[in-house]
Symmetry: C2
């Protein structure tokens, strides 16, 4: 049928090195097109039953890998895990992906990113949430509710504009009741260790004071809105909370920070991050949730997963692996 022979097959791997220098064309046919020099707007849509979910990235920050980034692991082991995931060693890129849920009657933002003030500070690397929200055609003034998972800067700082005004002026702000209780407790604050914990207390009070502390605390195990149920996943912080979004036969587990970047913490659920408030409880929760996700073949929306941050989970001999949901070019 064909003239295909082994002869006609060039020894491909060898050819890669041999860069022949005989371009067919040496002059452009016409004026050269300018490079775009900017990334596509980072938003992605999918449906959960009747609900339309828009994942909107806030960007990413890259930081040097600190010696104690994983408190129960050697730096060289962390570097080995980064290398196994084809990531650069000695640095960690932390990504942020809040989501917007349109239930048909409510427009609900879950977590808010590092804040618009961070856009300039990070030279556009992060603080992109409002910019990408706009690209997605979502008006911040139309947002009915903002649901916060926990009180770390990359989740709450986006509640404010760059000049400390409410970023979602018409939205009710819902916060986990145990998280609110912990961070607003003056006794807890007085006992906080110097450094990160004291800074977090100060920063959280700055954010919520700017909002006049007008928030609605919500309870675990209850719906914060129709179809969106709060699930206690405390450990990463005192009142860290995840959410299950369910509509029709669709369901997704919005984990927030049950794991940080999956290449480290999904693969190695026993690793304790320096930023986990109670690392042992965080690990316990992580294993419980990931066993459930794997057993139920339930999709997970991971705040720190690579955009669009949506995956399935399988169990491996040493932990778990996230299987990214393929990008769908249609809704």
């Amino acid at each position: 049928m064909t003239e295909l022979t082994r002869r006609s097959m060039l020894t491909s791997a060898a050819a890669l090195g041999a860069a022949a220098m005989t371009p067919i064309n040496s002059e452009p046919a016409h004026a050269s097109a300018p490079a775009a020099n900017q990334q596509a707007p980072g938003f992605y849509r999918y449906k959960v039953g009747d609900y339309e979910i828009t994942v909107v990235t806030d960007g990413a920050n890259t930081r040097p890998l600190e010696d104690n980034y994983i408190i129960n692991q050697k730096k060289e082991d962390v570097n080995a895990a980064l290398a196994a995931a084809f990531m650069e060693k000695d640095k960690v890129t932390i990504r942020y992906s809040p989501i917007v849920v349109n239930t048909g009657s409510k427009l609900i933002v879950i977590d808010t990113g590092t804040g618009e003030a961070n856009f300039e500070r990070s030279k556009g690397a992060a603080g992109q949430f409002q910019k990408n929200l706009k690209a997605a055609g979502i008006d911040r003034n139309a947002v009915d509710m903002v649901v916060i998972s926990h009180f770390h800067g990359d989740h709450v700082n986006g509640l404010l504009t760059a000049d400390n005004k409410p970023a979602f002026p018409n939205a009710e702000i819902l916060v986990p009741a145990p998280e609110w209780k912990f961070w607003m407790d003056d006794g807890e604050m007085s006992r906080a260790s110097a450094g990160r914990m004291q800074d977090l207390f100060a920063s959280n009070r700055r954010v919520f004071d700017a909002l006049g502390r007008k928030v609605t605390p919500y309870e675990m195990g209850k719906e914060v809105a129709p179809g969106i149920t709060a699930v206690a996943t405390h450990g990463h912080s005192a009142g860290h909370t995840s959410h299950v979004i369910a509509s029709g036969s669709g369901k997704v587990f919005v984990q927030a920070d049950v794991t940080n970047l999956p290449q480290l913490f999904v693969r190695n659920p026993g690793w304790h991050a320096s930023f986990d408030q109670d690392p042992k409880m965080a690990e316990e929760v992580r294993r419980k949730i990931y066993d459930m996700l794997a057993a139920e073949k339930m999709m997970v929306q991971g705040f720190h997963y690579p955009f669009p941050a949506l995956a399935y989970v399988e169990k491996t001999s040493t932990g778990y692996r996230e299987i990214p949901v393929p990008w769908s070019p249609t809704l």
Copy 2:
């Protein structure tokens, strides 16, 4: 330091089932926002040295899984592989991602998707290339060259508009010399088996006749443009060709159809697809290329990978696994 106790940790997995029916709010704060009802435009940028690459999806088609889709494998094994990848059984979704390379002096399209005429036919599922190209800010009239990997409809049909005019009116069309020779050979056509091969001959001649057969055949192992080298990867078709794009210290292997969807053919390199012209040679090439990609830790741009279709490759005990390159929110 904290009041965290095991008590405060809700038994999470159990709570997922217990959908408490006490939403905090029952009325929307204001008029409900309309759903967007459409996906984000599918384009994504990255740099290879000084070159700017834009991946532009043409969409995807979903078809029933045919009994002989894999000629040397049982349908149940294919379904098992789909299930392992969290994909639906008894159907196959084929995705298409052409790319655009801006070298600074030339704007080069590699492969063209299923064609604009297919947009309406597929109800918007595929034939999206020109639409997404426009969203990416790329003017079809500014394209200097179109480089074709091989003569299958999802790679060449996009050379024409819906009314059979040149889709890139100012571009030189470059085609692999052995592919051109094979499909334009009347003897080969007369010997083609009925069905798919005869249809392909007819379809290819329709496309290239509409272009007045004005093409520039290119040789294997040579540069088609500065930094873009043709690599013979014959087998999938008589003259199937891949390309290495190299600039500065950057390099990416643009594989075209060395594998189709990775969940089946990267994981199982020995599987022979019904659409491979010479399946044995295609497998040989696949193993050679994937051994090279894994050994050199070289990025692969896979036409049929899920958008943005960019990955690294690792070797496994039974084949290979693609590791998607995390989406970068900046260029």
